[in-house]
């Protein structure tokens, strides 16, 4: 391998057989190139789709009620089910060891929001401080609601980024300003941002207690949202959240006298169950790209093997001459393999570098939905290069070995 004379001989052969070398190299380089680009796009789709699902906490469980559809214990169907604070408190207390974040939501309908001359209609909700984490919101300015606000019935507001932009023109500082909701003054204490984008940022939050008291909500709540403590595996988390959902549902049905098989009165949206479908989809995409990638590699290996076979065939006479001049069989095999490994290695890395450069520079420019930051695991790419080189070497070895064993008189025989 480190024999300088051998290297000189190899370079000599490569220099004098440019087309052959180029073709071998091309098949290897394009194989690697295609594979890396495919894996990159696969990863990009993963990233892109993940982003679409980042709006709320990944494991949020959302409870809301509707109208009964079945007669039960003498009660008519068509009853509207209204959840109360007690429902939320009971659920929180019962599952307090399992819950990570929890909040009930009181919604204020027709919430017209005014600031001086500006006004707008936004979703106005009374929530618990935990709601920030349930919504996956981040703070741009100020702070979110806290439990002190809740206990003191503070008239404070946290507004979404879009609300801020709509109401506070000329980059005016919103913190500390007073906003009117249905004519009642509230002080702005924070501005939040949400990965869900503008739709999720055009909302206004106030403490649940304030909302219920100021807007005549008594102890009614519209929804409940929970997340459970993280589990070590996705399967466990899914099982825990499913059993939690079932328990909440049963509890609500019992409290509000709903038929156990009534589908429309209580609805629970378990995002972990949705996430499972999403992860299954991701896995399918991943398998698909790996499948395509592996097929590409196989095609590359077949291509390299073919070329090696032809090269050796073409060189049979030369090998005969070399043997007549005193080349040992092993040196023939070594020569052929040395050349093929050298060429496939160089070509493989050229393909690798070209594809990585493309992903690096063109990748961030892609702005299609569902594809973001296409990138590839460098080790995976490097491994495939080595697999291809190894395959090329193995594919080249057998014809080379056979050629080296042909008797010189056979190889030299005039066709």
């Amino acid at each position: 391998m480190f024999d300088l004379e051998r290297w000189e001989e190899i370079f000599d052969t490569i220099r004098k057989n440019k087309l052959r070398t180029f073709l071998t190299g091309l098949s290897v380089a394009s194989g690697i190139f295609i594979l890396v680009i495919l894996l990159g796009i696969g990863e990009g789709m993963r990233n892109g789709i993940s982003q679409e699902f980042k709006r709320d906490a990944a494991n949020i469980i959302y409870v809301y009620t509707g109208v009964t559809s079945k007669e039960y214990k003498g009660l008519n169907p068509g009853r509207r089910i209204q959840m109360k604070n007690e429902d939320f408190n009971y659920a929180s207390l019962k599952h307090q060891d399992d819950l990570e974040y929890k909040s009930s939501i009181f919604r204020i309908w027709n919430g017209i929001v005014n600031y001086r001359k500006e006004s707008g209609s936004y979703r106005v909700e009374g929530v618990y401080p935990d709601y920030q984490f349930l919504e996956n919101s981040g703070m741009v300015e100020g702070r979110f609601l806290n439990y002190k606000d809740y206990h003191n019935y503070e008239k404070v507001l946290v507004v979404g980024n879009k609300v801020r932009n709509d109401l506070f023109k000329d980059n005016k500082q919103p913190i500390g300003e007073y906003i009117q909701i249905s004519g009642v003054n509230f002080k702005v204490i924070g501005v939040y941002t949400d990965p869900g984008g503008e739709r999720e940022e055009s909302r206004v939050f106030m403490p649940l207690s304030t909302a219920q008291r100021v807007f005549g909500g008594a102890n009614n709540i519209a929804n409940m949202a929970f997340t459970l403590e993280p589990e070590e595996s996705f399967e466990k988390a899914l099982a825990a959240s499913s059993s939690f959902s079932a328990d909440i549902e049963n509890q609500l049905k019992e409290t509000h006298t709903i038929a156990p098989d009534d589908e429309s009165a209580v609805s629970i949206n378990n995002s972990l169950e949705n996430a499972k479908r999403f992860y299954d989809l991701m896995d399918m995409i991943k398998f698909f790209f790996w499948g395509v990638g592996i097929c590409t590699i196989i095609a590359g290996v077949v291509g390299v093997s073919n070329i090696m076979l032809i090269i050796v065939k073409e060189r049979t006479r030369e090998i005969g001459i070399r043997k007549a001049l005193g080349a040992e069989p092993l040196s023939i095999v070594g020569m052929v393999l040395h050349e093929s490994i050298f060429v496939t290695a160089i070509a493989g890395f050229v393909g690798l570098i070209a594809s990585l450069l493309l992903l690096e520079f063109v990748g961030p420019l892609i702005e299609t939905p569902y594809i973001a930051n296409p990138a590839v695991n460098f080790n995976v790419a490097l491994t495939t290069v080595f697999i291809l080189i190894l395959a090329g070497a193995i594919a080249g070895f057998f014809p080379a070995w056979r050629a080296a064993r042909i008797k010189p008189i056979v190889a030299l025989r005039d066709e």
């Binding site: 001459i321 001049l325 080349a327």
Partner: protein, 233 residues
């Protein structure tokens, strides 16, 4: 130099076997220039291949420069070929993508001689065959006679004990043939042992000894007065 006793060789052709060489006894002293003649099918090429260790014998013994040639594996055969023998072929068998100089240097590469020395020696042999000016040319840029002279330089490069020439003039016109034979005679004059296989009587007449093969046996082995090729050119 060469000592052959009771040489037999047969080839399997499907179910039947073809007995090509049927008991050959043959010896060559150092410095001889021997031609081996025979019609096609007489076994002369097989005989030369066995002498050249390109093929194995079935029965008998072969001693080359005091070394018994038997039970050779590929590796040892390759080493012996490199050390003892130089080949000249009818179809030249130069490597097409290597220059004349590189072709001549090839046997030296397999002797493990470093590049500088290899090129120097190869150049000396090219000069000897009168092709120093053509050293950088590829074989397909050379005429038939020039190609054969490159091949002769290559055969000489490893300084072998014996030169084996298989129809060296078979692909050449008579004028060029005589030039090549003249070169072979000059090399022989320096004391090198040379065996030439040919079916042309005029070429055979330019050697010092003619061995006639027929049906796998030597039917005639005569020393002749050598005709100098130069006189015929």
């Amino acid at each position: 130099m060469i000592e052959i006793r009771d040489l037999h060789k047969s080839y399997k052709m499907g179910s039947s076997s073809l007995h090509v060489l049927k008991g050959i006894n043959f010896s060559v002293a150092e410095g001889e220039l021997v031609s081996i003649m025979g019609s096609s099918g007489s076994g002369k090429s097989t005989f030369l291949n066995i002498l050249g260790m390109l093929d194995e014998l079935d029965e008998g013994s072969y001693t080359l420069d005091g070394v018994p040639i038997k039970n050779l594996n590929e590796k040892i055969a390759a080493r012996y070929r490199n050390k003892f023998l130089g080949f000249i072929f009818q179809s030249f068998n130069l490597i097409s993508y290597k220059s004349a100089l590189d072709n001549v240097a090839l046997p030296l590469y397999y002797q493990g001689i470093n590049r500088g020395e290899r090129m120097e020696k190869a150049m000396a042999y090219l000069e000897k065959v009168g092709l120093a000016d053509w050293s950088g040319h590829l074989p397909n840029e050379l005429s038939g006679g020039q190609k054969q002279r490159v091949a002769i330089a290559r055969a000489l490069a490893s300084d072998p004990k014996v030169l084996l020439a298989d129809e060296p003039t078979g692909a050449l016109d008579s004028k060029t043939s005589y030039e090549v034979m003249n070169l072979i005679q000059e090399i022989n004059d320096e004391g090198r042992t040379i065996l030439v296989v040919t079916h042309e009587p005029d070429i055979a007449a330019m050697t010092k000894r003619i061995v006639n093969l027929k049906d796998g046996k030597i039917i005639q082995d005569t020393r002749v007065k050598q005709i100098r090729a130069l006189e015929n050119v």
